[in-house]
């Protein structure tokens, strides 16, 4: 597990993604450090200690569309991590996690350590099971959005320009 996490962190760093580890009780402070205001988010059910809520942070939960467009940062959970790629698996919820992670310049994703899969094979196997059970959708997101269409590689095309990952440590 520790190896998988380390591999995940290394992969993220290679992508230029900042990654921070925290225990549940430190989640609020870590989020505050990670965001650039104005920040919006989706409720993080089950993400932190029982009762953890983004309400204790400067993050506006479940914003209006206009507030979303004016926000700099979007905070969401991530369903899985992929160790060897530094990928995040983002789900699409009816709380608009897809919009909050996409229509912002900075995406802060929060992930449970035990949800980090060692490799893509394992991650796809997990998705295969979930999709067959519930017919869900997901985005495998790796690093910030990027384009090379304007004559050089530029980070920040239609999606976020920067990604920040917070890993919530196991059993802490």
């Amino acid at each position: 597990m520790a190896n998988t996490r380390t591999a995940f962190e290394t992969s993220l760093e290679e992508l230029g993604v900042t990654v921070t580890r925290t225990i549940e009780s430190g989640l609020g402070d870590t989020i505050e450090d990670a965001i650039t205001e104005p920040a919006v988010g989706v409720a993080l059910d089950g993400m932190g200690a029982e009762g953890f809520s983004l309400a204790e942070t400067p993050v506006t939960v479940d914003p209006t569309p206009v507030a979303l467009r004016e926000a700099t940062t979007g905070v969401t959970g991530a369903e899985l991590g992929v160790g060897d790629y530094g990928s995040l698996v983002l789900t699409m919820t009816d709380e608009a996690s897809e919009l909050v992670s996409l229509f912002v310049e900075r995406h802060v994703a929060i992930l449970h350590e035990e949800d980090i899969q060692p490799d893509m094979d394992a991650a796809v196997a997990e998705l295969d099971e979930r999709f067959n059970d519930t017919g869900g959708s997901a985005i495998i997101a790796t690093g910030p959005s990027a384009t090379a269409d304007m004559g050089a590689l530029v980070k920040g095309a239609h999606g976020p320009e920067s990604v920040y990952v917070i890993v919530v440590e196991e059993g802490a």
Partner: protein, 726 residues
């Protein structure tokens, strides 16, 4: 077919940007796949999934349709472009949409849905930044993955500044990207319908995979309430778990990224709420997620491709662009020359022949030289050169027979329906070479007269700027017959295959090979043997090539049966025996020759490895040389043997890493392609003139490569076997 003038103009205007980008992608591919421990396994898995899926396509389409419909979506299988466009127009009309936003989709370009919708007064906006640049510029894509690869940053800046007249002129890539993002961002949130492609669609859950980096495909789906996905019928695969190898391979094989920023796995309709982006009162979660989903699957010739045993593999293509980026000619001219109506690069021949017809494939098919560098690069192992050869053969047969007055006697081939004269000349080079040797040196003097060169230029389109081969009066076969074998109690016995060039032109390398093998304890014979058929095959003359293959195996079989190995100097002929003959011969005949044939350095390597002493050869102490391996030799994994043997003999070896020298057999002789051939060769020249390389003697394995290097450099190159002979 593009003329020399058109190719020259493309190389002048677009060549630099194309070369920089494709070579960057290609280098990235090598780096990225090197990190994959199970690269070959993943390719095999990907290939096998596609093979099975295309075999089972009708059932998978039924299953997929059922799945999508039970998820609440609609599936429409369109016979052709017009059928697909009619359906999409109806969907857009029913939604009363003013604007349609699109993410990048080659299939939607194939059907030209933009034009169809624009006729209805709908505003169609491409949101992929490269596609948008082309939409603004009104230009066609030059690459299947990076469509605006031919445009430099400067030309995009000029275009935007002229068209949009921004307050501050745009200059950097960051400024251009930000400008496009803002402009398109406003249009996306204001659109009703989103059109995407689909890289893969799984029949089990109805999940589609979209491989992107910019995030525009995500926005195209998330910001609209009607999603139309347009894909070829070949995109369906059985299960979600089958996505795995493709997710790992597609980015690496194409642009050399380990994975693109986003792989969207969508099982529509998605749960994301459909919001009004101007609403400042209602929280996001209170909008509902009513979305219509239409999957438009397009046949447009694909089911006929499926029934065509030679083109069928085309349908395995995942449109990654590896065959474009690894192609030496593509690196020089890009998809505007090396492409048809929609698709570009090596595999485009299959797509365009199947979808549009032979006449469209003919426009660019000659640009595949059969170098095979795309074969190992292709993540699903498509034999792209073979598809190009088959299509070339069909194009030849579509044409009227050329003027028999000149062909008779010179071209005793099997092409009853006739290939064009130039192709038949090169395809039957064996006859020319035999005549050339028989009448040398008179033939050489005659060939070089101004009158002859003019005639060759005019009738055969042989470029007068190329030197012609000089035929030797005494062939290698004659020389070998006139001497006694020098080996008593041999370790092994071999046939040295007298390929056309070694036998008639570069006889010295043949003599060197005989001496080297004898020094290592091999009994060598050099019997008269027909030419391999490489020349006719590369002209698309498959019947003639097959005739050669049969005669070669017939004449070598007794030797093989007698326990002799077949040693081949010319890599393109060795590749015929061990690769191409599989297509031309029955399995037993192919196996017999393939398993007993060795490229000469592969053979020497084996002899040394089995105890022969390097001291029997001519050795040096640290002499510096530069080695250019042959494209087909590298595809077969045989570059390393030459390097290892040369190092064993004491040489300090640097190797080139260009995909091809540009000569490619007859290609570089043809007037239309001479300049392209030299442009490709220029990359090799640059490497051979690098610091630390430019003083080195040059050796190269292929006849064509030797001729090209001879034309490129002052230094006269040799075949490496000549270094080893004592």
């Amino acid at each position: 077919m593009a003329t020399a003038d058109e190719l020259r103009e493309l190389m002048r205007t677009e060549g630099a940007a194309i070369a920089e980008n494709t070579q960057g992608f290609n280098a990235g591919r090598y780096d990225s796949v090197a990190d994959l421990e199970d690269y070959e396994d993943l390719k095999r898995a990907a290939r096998s999934i596609k093979e099975d899926a295309i075999a089972d396509l009708p059932n998978l389409l039924d299953q997929l349709t059922e799945t999508i419909e039970s998820n609440g979506g609609t599936v429409y299988i369109a016979d052709d472009a017009a059928d697909a466009n009619d359906y999409i127009r109806d969907v857009v009309d029913e939604r009363a949409a003013d604007r349609v936003v699109k993410s990048k989709s080659m299939t939607s370009e194939e059907i030209e849905v933009n034009d169809a919708l624009e006729e209805d007064g709908v505003d169609v906006v491409e949101t992929d930044l490269g596609e948008w640049v082309l939409q603004v510029a009104d230009e066609a894509p030059s690459h299947i993955v990076a469509p605006a690869i031919h445009k430099s940053r400067e030309s995009i800046a000029e275009l935007f500044n002229e068209r949009f007249d921004p307050d501050e002129p745009l200059e950097t890539a960051e400024e251009l990207t930000r400008f496009a993002r803002e402009k398109l961002g406003e249009q996306i949130i204001d659109a009703e319908v989103g059109i995407t492609g689909a890289n893969f669609i799984t029949a089990d859950t109805g999940t589609m995979a979209l491989v992107t980096s910019e995030g525009n495909a995500r926005k195209t789906v998330a910001a609209t309430d009607t999603h139309v996905a347009v894909a070829g019928v070949e995109k369906v695969i059985p299960t979600v778990s089958d996505l795995h190898p493709f997710i790992e391979l597609i980015g690496r094989s194409g642009t050399g990224q380990d994975i693109t920023s986003y792989v969207s796995l969508l099982t529509p309709p998605v749960d994301t709420p459909v919001v009004d982006f101007t609403d400042d009162q209602t929280p996001l979660s209170e909008f509902d997620s009513d979305r219509d989903f239409h999957l438009v699957l397009i046949d447009n010739g694909r089911l006929e491709i499926r029934d065509d045993e030679h083109l069928r593999e085309t349908l395995y293509c995942i449109r990654c662009s590896a065959c474009s980026n690894s192609c030496a000619n593509f690196q020089s001219v890009g998809g505007h020359a090396f492409g048809g109506e929609t698709y570009s690069g090596g595999i485009a021949t299959g797509w365009e022949a199947g979808i549009e017809g032979l006449d469209v494939a003919e426009e660019f098919n000659d640009l595949c030289t059969g170098c095979t560098r795309c074969v190992n690069a292709c993540p699903v192992g498509i034999d792209i050169p073979w598809i190009n050869t088959v299509v070339r053969d069909r194009i030849n047969r579509d044409k009227d027979a050329p003027g028999e007055w000149l062909v008779d006697g010179l071209t005793p081939d099997e092409e009853e329906d006739g290939a064009p004269l130039q192709k038949r000349f090169f395809g039957n080079f064996e006859t020319v070479a035999k005549l050339g040797s028989a009448t040398a040196p008179v033939s050489n003097w005659l060939a070089e007269t101004t009158l002859s060169r003019r005639a060759m230029d005019r009738i055969l389109d042989i470029d007068p700027r190329r030197d012609l081969p000089t035929f030797e009066r005494e062939t290698l076969v004659d020389w070998a017959a006139s001497r006694d074998s020098r080996v008593e109690d041999p370790e092994r016995r071999a046939v040295l295959y007298p390929d056309l060039y070694t036998n008639h032109v570069q006889v010295d390398r043949g003599k060197a090979a005989v001496k080297v093998l004898e020094s290592l304890g091999v009994d060598v014979v050099v019997p008269p043997t027909p030419s391999s058929g490489r020349a006719p095959l590369s002209q698309g003359m498959i019947s003639t090539a097959t005739d050669h293959a049969e005669r070669v195996t017939e004449s070598l079989a007794p030797h093989i049966e007698d326990g002799r190995d077949v040693v081949v100097i010319e890599p393109s002929d060795h590749a015929m025996f061990t690769r191409e003959y599989e297509r031309l011969l029955d399995e037993a005949a192919f196996t017999d020759i393939a398993e007993n044939s060795y490229e000469v350095f592969e053979y020497v390597f084996g002899l040394l490895d089995n105890g022969a002493s390097v001291d029997s050869l001519s050795t040096v102490e640290g002499a510096e040389i530069a080695y250019h391996s042959h494209c087909q030799q590298r595809t077969l994994g045989l570059e390393a043997h030459t390097v290892a043997v040369l190092e064993d003999c004491g040489y300090d070896v640097v190797t080139s890493d260009v995909e091809c020298c540009g000569m490619a057999g007859s290609f570089g002789y043809k007037s239309d392609y001479y300049e392209l051939s030299m442009d490709v060769g220029d990359r090799l020249r640059t490497q051979l003139r690098d610091d630390g390389v430019q003083e080195r003697a040059v050796v190269a394995s292929g006849t064509s490569c030797l001729e090209q290097i001879d034309a490129l450099l002052e230094r006269q190159p040799r075949h490496p076997i000549e270094l080893l002979a004592t």
